[in-house]
């Protein structure tokens, strides 16, 4: 059985085609003069002059990853591997290591000796950011991975990831950390605390 398709009702003016084409052309020409010669705030234009002009991304745009810093410049990351566990593209490779014995964090925490993200393999889902319990990995940089002709340029190591600032230009986050020695940090010995 054939469907019955309702046809739009068209007047003679519509069917003649020419009046409608002229109307459209008039709008185009009106917009052309308005956008070319009128004041900036009166312009009605939907496009930007890319790449000279770049439109702001939404607040929650997921850009290239960054590894946030502690106040002393070391990574906040404790190499818990939660991000690489959550990663559906399996693009994060981490090798955990222990701090040196004279470091105040030795024994409490570990750090990533190697932290590599394959940005070509990454699907920018943001699960790693969700999974991170330490606010150590973020995608709030607001920029894309720079294009390149070489695949190896997309293998971002720890130093590269730590050298990318957030949208606010800083390398830290606003969430506080409890460092060893702080009164709030776990691990006060009995002699100090009891």
């Amino acid at each position: 059985m054939a469907y019955k398709i309702s046809r739009p009702k068209r007047t003679l003016g519509d069917q003649a085609f020419f009046p409608e084409a002229a109307k459209g052309m008039a709008l185009t020409i009106r917009r052309f003069f308005k956008n070319t010669f009128s004041k900036e705030e009166n312009k009605v234009i939907a496009t930007v002059r890319y790449p000279d002009e770049v439109r702001d991304y939404p607040e929650r745009f997921r850009g290239v990853h960054r590894l946030t810093h502690r106040t002393d410049g070391s990574p906040r990351c404790v190499a818990c591997l939660c991000c690489s566990t959550a990663c559906p593209a399996q693009c994060i490779y981490i090798e955990p290591a222990e701090y040196d014995t004279d470091d105040p964090r030795a024994g409490y925490e570990r750090y990533p000796r190697v932290f590599v993200i394959d940005e070509l393999r990454c699907i920018f889902c943001g699960y790693c950011v969700e999974a991170c319990p330490c606010d150590a990995i973020r995608m709030d940089t607001g920029v894309h991975v720079p294009a390149s002709f070489d695949r190896s340029h997309f293998i971002f190591d720890k130093e590269t990831l730590m050298s990318i600032p957030g949208k606010d230009g800083t390398y830290v986050t606003e969430n506080p950390r409890h460092e060893p020695g702080d009164p709030t940090h776990p691990g006060i010995t009995r002699e100090q605390g009891h």
Partner: protein, 544 residues
């Protein structure tokens, strides 16, 4: 067999069993922390509280919040009992999933987590932690406590192998009881009470007996961590293969925990077997996993005119066949290995007897180590009995081999494995035999790792290690136990028995063994009684 009822299910028990043990034997887990099948009963964690319904029920008066009346009303609740301490009796009615029992489990769980730092991301127990498991099964609520938790010592060094974190500790005393009852060394104890309670090492001592890693193994939470495994891997990435420890002739059943992505073994864990090792392994045994990767031989080596060159594995097999072809019958010495599986030894002995018509069987083994009357056997080889079985009669010692070489009776050596109890100086005649390289004299060594025998060989053929192949070990008591392959052998490396069949085929040995099952069928009985080798305890399931 008498039975009792647990949540409506009939549970058989033996006289003297506790409720939790009878259920455990049936594969039913009543939540618990302090109870361990191999340790005494402490009943201090209160996680296994169950409701017992009987004629003379003890009821406690309580105040219960009534939301309708908006006030507390008087009510009663049954007195709950710890299942780990409650002796099972005929026709008992136990409820581990009743409302009262579930409420008790939830409250206990909340109490245990009250001062817990919840540092799961940096805790090595995460993924196999009872606190996590029971939080999910019994609590699933956020912490209600809003104040700062009580802080206790962290990263305390207990000894060369163990680090202790008091904040994660739930004071189940399993580690103390293990040291007292199994290792027979009262080196751990507890001090203080309440929320500053902690485990301490005896003054002037450190945790340094032969079973320290077992304290970490029995720890249901992340309080005790092994320095070796600490921070190395996350357990949810690891897979487990049932294996047998290669440390000594006890043949403790173990799980090989390996990461399939990197094809690397990270640790060994005891696999419960009441007949052999109960629930335990010794430290040195647990560290034997390092041998799987240490000095691994990945390519063949052929020595020609005094110089050793690396060749591919296939070339090494062909080179081995070429040198063995020239050997006069009867002048070949076959060195079986107490470190290799029964299958490897059997195929080697069969090849020697069938093709070379030799009866010169020797046995190489690692030097004995310190034994004890708990688990450690003085013979540091897992399969001396199996290798002896293969040789049809007592094989001769390596000293005898050296003597025979000096006397000129032996023209060539075909050996298995890298290990020997002789020093390099004592092995000098063997090295001299082939110092010139491949000629009329030859020493063909099939090995996974470099060792004393490898360095004196003229042809080295790489084979799969114990972790990379399946096989059988016969322990000192004569129990044959099978172990399963965990890792893929790197490259085109094959198990020793298959490599030997391949060498044999080059020599014209007409045998068609392709799978391990073919060898096992051909091998002399008794084959391992499978019931004895499999894990008897159901809750010993690995973190897979």
């Amino acid at each position: 067999m008498p039975t009792f009822k647990l949540d409506g299910q009939e549970i058989p028990f033996e006289p003297g069993d506790t409720v939790i043990r009878a259920a455990y034997r049936q594969g039913i887990e009543i939540p618990h922390y302090c109870w361990h099948p191999g340790l005494s009963i402490a009943a201090n964690c209160r996680m296994c509280l169950v409701e017992v319904r009987s004629g003379r029920q003890m009821a406690l008066p309580i105040l219960k919040w009534d939301a309708k009346k908006n006030e507390y009303v008087e009510a009663t609740k049954p007195k709950l009992q710890p299942a780990c301490q409650l002796a099972a009796q005929e026709d008992m009615e136990i409820f581990a999933r009743s409302d009262h029992a579930l409420k008790a489990q939830e409250s206990t769980q909340e109490f245990l987590l009250l001062n817990h730092p919840v540092d799961c991301p940096i805790c090595d127990q995460a993924g196999e932690c009872k606190l996590q498991d029971y939080w999910l099964s019994s609590q699933t609520k956020l912490k209600r406590k809003r104040t700062e938790p009580v802080h206790k010592p962290k990263a305390v060094r207990f000894g060369p192998t163990i680090v202790y974190d008091a904040e994660r500790c739930i004071m189940c005393t399993r580690c103390i009881r293990f040291c007292d009852e199994v290792a027979k060394d009262h080196v751990l104890d507890m001090r203080e009470r309440g929320n500053v309670n902690e485990i301490v090492v005896s003054p002037g001592r450190e945790l340094d007996h032969d079973y320290t890693l077992m304290t970490e193994h029995v720890c249901p939470v992340g309080a005790l961590t092994s320095k070796d495994f600490r921070f190395k891997a996350r357990v949810w990435f690891l897979k487990s293969a049932p294996s047998v420890c290669t440390g000594c002739a006890t043949g403790c059943n173990s799980w090989v925990d390996y990461d399939p992505r990197y094809q690397r073994v990270y640790r060994l864990r005891p696999r419960d077997n009441e007949a052999v090792n109960q629930y335990w392994m010794c430290d040195d045994g647990m560290m034997t996993y390092k041998r799987f990767h240490e000095d691994r031989i990945l390519a063949g080596r052929v020595r020609t005119s005094g110089r050793t060159s690396e060749v591919s594995r296939d070339d090494a097999v062909r080179a081995a066949a070429r040198v063995l072809e020239k050997i006069e019958p009867g002048r070949l010495a076959v060195v079986l290995s107490a470190q290799a599986s029964s299958e490897d030894n059997y195929v080697l002995a069969k090849l020697a007897a069938d093709h070379f018509e030799t009866d010169r069987f020797y046995l190489t083994a690692r030097a004995p180590w310190r034994g004890d009357d708990i688990l450690r056997h003085p013979d540091a080889n897992p399969n001396r009995a199996g290798a002896t079985m293969a040789s049809k009669g007592e094989p001769r010692s390596m000293e005898q081999l050296v003597e025979d070489i000096e006397r000129g009776d032996v023209g060539a050596v075909l050996s298995l494995g890298p290990d020997t109890d002789l020093s390099e100086a004592e092995l000098a005649p063997l090295a001299n035999l082939v110092s010139e390289g491949v000629g009329t004299a030859a020493h063909v060594n099939l090995t996974a790792n470099a060792g004393a025998l490898t360095s004196s060989a003229s042809v080295v053929v790489p084979v799969a290690s114990v972790a990379e192949t399946s096989g059988t070990f016969v322990n000192a008591k004569g129990v044959a136990q099978q172990f399963k392959k965990a890792l893929q052998a790197p490259g085109d490396i094959q198990p020793a028995w298959l490599t030997l069949v391949e060498i044999g085929r080059h020599l014209g040995w007409e045998i068609d063994w392709r799978r391990l099952g073919d060898v096992r069928t051909a091998m002399p009985k008794p084959l391992p009684p499978s019931s004895e080798t499999t894990s008897t305890e159901p809750s010993a399931a690995p973190a897979e």
